[in-house]
């Protein structure tokens, strides 16, 4: 097991290098550098050029890359071009909001989807199955921005049940339970908007995984041996069906974070997604590179964790 862990960690090293390379290379595609958004008829070009030199934007590309990489290794992601703030700090102060949103959407998706998927599989070709399937397909085929807009319009503006945007009641000075309840109210809509699509996917996945397992020989054997259906389903089938779902996490995580770019914009949620979208249009390369690296590393760690968990729970995996 320990060997396995070490090997997996070693395997991540080329990935990390790849991540920095891709993050950096993408930024070279663009015409114009971040200073170009700052050019207005009222600024001295001299000052703009000075800033450009200060940021090293006048250096050859590979020099810029190694400079950036060595800074990165020492924990410095550089400074935002326009505001001059440390990129790492800008990202870090937004991580909690994004983490809260994606984690709750993820939890919501899995907690609701797995039981529904199991029901759908057990009641295959029943009305419940058809309804759930229909719901799942609807979820998969609705663009998430559209779902978000509809949620705001219906639940916040028309029904006045929940706030439209933000992440807590600013300036109300709520504390304790009231503060938590307040934050939950703000969390609900963006969580639904972000989580629904994944809910649908996880549900479909659970269903087919469950059906797969139910058709396996050992389940048939168990049934043939007259073991109680409930025990067959929950003790034998469900456990094995859930295993592959863990691997789905690796695919869901980057998709969820990608989705948060849209959802955070709609709900004025102060997370990394909005920072990223703003940074794109402002050509804030240091921020974009920092975000890409950080998010990719988070996903990498998530995958690593999933793999280790998988190895841990699945006795069939050999660590050698």
């Amino acid at each position: 097991m320990q060997d396995y862990l070490v090997r997996r960690l070693l395997q991540s090293i080329p990935l990390l290098i790849g991540i920095t390379l891709i993050s950096f290379a993408i930024m070279q595609l663009a015409p114009g550098d971040p200073m170009s958004t700052m050019i207005s008829p009222d600024l001295d070009m001299e000052a703009v050029d000075a800033r450009r030199a200060e940021l090293g934007l006048d250096q050859p590309i590979y020099v810029q890359y190694f400079r950036w990489l060595s800074e990165l290794l020492s924990g410095n992601m550089g400074y935002a071009v326009q505001s001059g703030r440390p990129v790492l700090q800008m990202i870090v102060e937004r991580i909690p909001a994004t983490l809260l949103l994606t984690a709750s959407a993820l939890a919501f998706a899995y907690i609701v989807a797995v039981p529904l998927g199991v029901i759908s599989a057990l009641k295959q070709h029943n009305l419940a199955d058809y309804l759930l399937t229909l719901f799942a397909f609807l979820g998969i085929s609705t663009p998430s921005f559209f779902a978000g807009i509809l949620l705001v319009y219906v639940f916040a503006i028309q029904l006045n049940l929940l706030p439209t945007s933000g992440h807590y009641s600013i300036g109300e000075g709520l504390i304790g339970f009231a503060a938590t309840a307040d934050r939950l109210r703000y969390l609900l809509l963006p969580m639904l908007a972000l989580g629904t699509r994944h809910l649908a996917q996880v549900m479909r996945f659970t269903r087919s995984s469950m059906l797969d397992v139910l058709n396996q020989d050992y389940i048939r054997t168990a049934r043939a041996k007259g073991i109680h259906e409930r025990v067959v389903v929950y003790k034998h089938a469900l456990r094995n069906a859930l295993l592959p779902i863990v691997t789905l996490l690796g695919l869901t995580l980057p998709a969820l974070i990608g989705g948060s770019f849209i959802i955070e914009t709609i709900f004025a949620w102060p997370g990394m997604g909005r920072l990223g979208v703003n940074a794109i249009f402002a050509r804030e390369y240091p921020i974009l590179m920092g975000l890409n690296v950080l998010v990719a590393c988070m996903v990498l760690m998530g995958n690593l964790l999933a793999d280790v968990m998988y190895a841990f729970v699945d006795p069939r995996i050999q660590y050698s």
């Binding site: 998969i140 085929s141 663009p143 921005f145 319009y153 058709n215 974070i257 770019f261």
Partner: protein, 303 residues
């Protein structure tokens, strides 16, 4: 169960390819939703192909009122079945032409993604060793990124024209095909018929093209189908963030994007309900078709 079945099956099909297709079709036909999906998608494809003949008006032309002003935001009427948009263009005509754009974005993106994915996946799976290692590490690396963000960055930077968007989506989303094809190749490589061909002195090229690709085709087809739906949604999301297909060219994505304005959402439903329904109908149908194909092509997964 363990590939030898499907391997043997396709070998047989080389002799009687016709009957295999018939078999697949027979199984596919049993999947009612998939069949329905096929009909819907077929209709949309026809609509797109014959758009210039079907569309009542030029989708880029604004109508004027009698006082000379542009007929913006007219309600649906006998003249304009789906009303007009913010600069007075006929929404129905735009919807029809937008279908061309959205569906070709989906299709071309899939072709690009599949081409890259198959090429890399096949290379990795067939040659194995260092080549495999390098390609798979690259795939893993790309998979770590939130792809929508990557697409958004690249689309904004190189300029969001239709062609750029098709290619960018394809270039970023090839990883899953790559993994799929590689896995399939690894499995097939060890199979008896491959060994046999190799023993008979067949070149790598011939083995790949004659034996491995045809055998790996079904998961690729299933994936490709499902990804068309995904790509259409990605284009819509890009439109929302301002980096999708740009007006005056209409796509379902940028038409639906208008719903993010409250006045359109609440008072001008003719602007967003039709493209919204079109997207959902096509995406849903394509998903059904993909599901049907999966079951038809993969008989041992008969559920």
């Amino acid at each position: 169960m363990d590939g030898s079945v499907s391997g043997g099956k396709v070998e047989k099909s080389a002799i009687a390819g016709h009957s295999l297709l018939q078999q697949v079709w027979r199984r596919f036909r049993r999947h009612k939703l998939a069949l329905g999906g096929l009909v819907v998608v077929g209709l949309f494809v026809l609509m797109s192909v014959f758009a210039p003949m079907i569309a009542p008006y030029n989708p880029y032309r604004s109508f004027t009122r009698s006082d000379g002003s542009y007929a913006s935001w007219e309600r649906p009427s006998a003249k304009h079945w789906l009303g007009t948009d913010d600069v007075g263009r006929d929404v129905l005509s735009r919807l029809i032409f937008a279908g061309r754009v959205s569906m070709s974005v989906g299709l071309v993106a899939v072709l690009v993604a599949t081409a890259i994915g198959v090429a890399l996946g096949a290379t990795a799976g067939f040659f194995g060793g260092l080549v495999d290692n390098v390609i798979m590490r690259l795939t893993d690396t790309v998979l770590c990124f939130p792809v929508l963000f990557l697409v958004l960055i690249v689309a904004t930077m190189v300029g969001p024209s239709i062609y750029n968007i098709m290619i960018i989506i394809g270039c970023v989303y090839w990883t899953r095909v790559c993994r799929l094809v590689r896995a399939e190749f690894l499995r097939l490589r060890e199979m008896e018929f491959t060994e046999a061909s190799r023993a008979l002195g067949a070149s790598s090229n011939r083995i790949i093209w004659r034996h491995l690709i045809p055998n790996a085709i079904s998961p690729i087809v299933v994936f490709g189908t499902l990804f068309i739906a995904e790509a259409i949604l990605i284009e819509a999301s890009l439109s929302f963030l301002g980096a999708g297909v740009q007006p005056p060219v209409a796509s379902w994505g940028n038409m639906l994007h208008q719903a993010s304005s409250f006045v359109v959402l609440s008072r001008r439903p003719w602007l967003w309900i039709p493209p919204g329904l079109a997207i959902m109908a096509v995406v849903l149908s394509v998903n059904f078709i993909g599901d049907g194909l999966r079951e038809a092509l993969d008989p041992h997964q008969q559920l």
